[in-house]
């Protein structure tokens, strides 16, 4: 597969991910990730590596499962009533000339709505995509949120 041809496939994966999240199909979302994945949001938007820095979240797959299980438990009270989200992403670009494993940068805006309160959140995504059994999977999703280092109301929904 030539690098250029990866773009539609990567774009399609990002779109599928966005819809799964906004549809609250969390199990389906989880299936997009590799087993040794990382899903994270640094506190410092300029942080390069989150390992020895503080993050808003820094989840391996097991903790992503915990996160989803908690949201579905009925006792994560910031999600009672639930948050609804609607996100768009754009300015999608492949880094490294589209060499695999792919690094995909994009910008996002998300409206998170709960209990009459509507919040506009935005920032940048960086996805690393690996090919497993012919299909692209997310091995890392970094969410750089504008305001991640500022006081935030709870953000227990998924980015």
């Amino acid at each position: 597969m030539t690098p250029r041809s990866s773009f539609p496939e990567a774009y399609e994966l990002l779109a599928r991910e966005a819809h799964l999240l906004d549809d609250r199909d969390f199990e389906g979302w989880l299936d997009l990730f590799t087993e040794d994945c990382l899903y994270w949001m640094p506190v410092d938007p300029l942080a390069e590596d989150g390992g020895l820095r503080l993050n808003v979240f820094y989840d391996d797959k097991a903790k992503m499962k915990d996160r989803i299980a908690r949201l579905s438990s009925g006792s994560a009270y910031t999600e009672e009533p639930i948050s609804l989200t609607a996100r768009t992403f754009s300015a999608v670009q492949l880094e490294n000339g589209g060499e695999e494993p792919l690094v995909v940068r994009s910008n996002f805006q998300m409206i998170a709505y709960r209990s009459g309160d509507q919040r506009l959140l935005g920032g940048r995504y960086r996805h690393r995509l690996l090919r497993e059994d012919g299909a692209l999977r997310i091995s890392e999703k970094r969410v750089t949120l504008l305001g991640s280092d500022a006081p935030q109301r709870p953000m227990t929904f998924l980015f």
Partner: protein, 405 residues
Amino acid sequence: MHRDVYVDPDVFEAEMRRIFMRTWIYVGHDSEIPHAGDYKRTFIGTEPVILTRGSDGAPSVVVNRCSHRGAAICLLPRGNAKGFRCQFHGWTFGLDGELLGVPYSEEEVDKDELSLASAKVESYRGFIFASFNPDVPPLTDHLRDVLPYIDRFVEHAGDYALQVSPDANEVVYDANWKMQLENNVDGYHLSFTHQSLFGVLQQRTGKQPRYVTGSSDGEARVEAFSNGHAVMDLRSVATDVLRERLGIVPGAPPPDADLDAYFGIEGAEDLYLASTGPPVNISIFPNLNLGSINICEVHPLAVNRTRVVLRPLLLDGAPPGINRTRLRYHEIGSGPAGFVQPDDLEMFERVALGLASEDVEWIQMTRGRERETEVDETHRYSHVSDETPQRGQYRCWREMMDGDA
């Protein structure tokens, strides 16, 4: 307790004057400003201040307001500087607030008079406090009953010096600041507000974790002290729960790992288990909560709005794997996407929603009043689920609010 304590803007204004401008307020940890010229922008109540480290090594706290026309002179959360320059008309100030320069000044300027107002500063074991009250008693007198608990908090990881993470998890909620202070020593809410966390632990470990039950009369207890300070001491009751939590940390060593080999030092097990901090929460009236491995600053913004700043403590010189564990442990619960803190904030806001009722004026804070042990007027302890600490906080609150000012 009358609802006005949480909802009346006049009460809030009086609190800023009578409490925050009059007692010791926590402003930062030594490791946040380790070098000469380091500074941190923060607040004493709603008063904007800057904590600085002078060239002599001494910390100062000055008002973040140019003495000329009132512009804030420090906008960055932290940094290093030789001094501060107001960008409006170029006035310059030293790290201790001394007025150094007034551009185009042909008339005589009283530099003493126009230096930045400063607060009294004292520290205990790295915790820096400031007060705008020149007659405030010595800090160690103010903290006397909780000094052993602070010692225990500082010493929980042996000889390693504590290094506060420069990054912080910050949250804001629409309810009164005192909710956060009370909550740190509220053993009653744990099994209910945080049920979802215990659910996660149960799923991951196959065991039912519980800190507190209504009937257990183990060693865990809550305690109220002089000057509104309080602790929730979970002692042995919590040990298993905390160790189980470490197991769900991303990147945790496998259950059968040789920890010395895994972390590359001898005696790694103790250091690894210390990643949960001591099983005791300390509330230092009116704006500091210590618990787990966190320093939590409570910043009142308005009667119904509060900012909370949480920073985990790392260990200077410890293996990176240990500090990674501490960071990941902190992230499980804390911050706007944590598994613990958001549910607390939710409850604070539900209280604010409920207190909209003007018809019902009083809230209950009486649990354990009959069974608590009264050591003296201010020092009492009781079952871990009792509201003894909160009553202690409000005894101090009332005393300060009733006093002359």
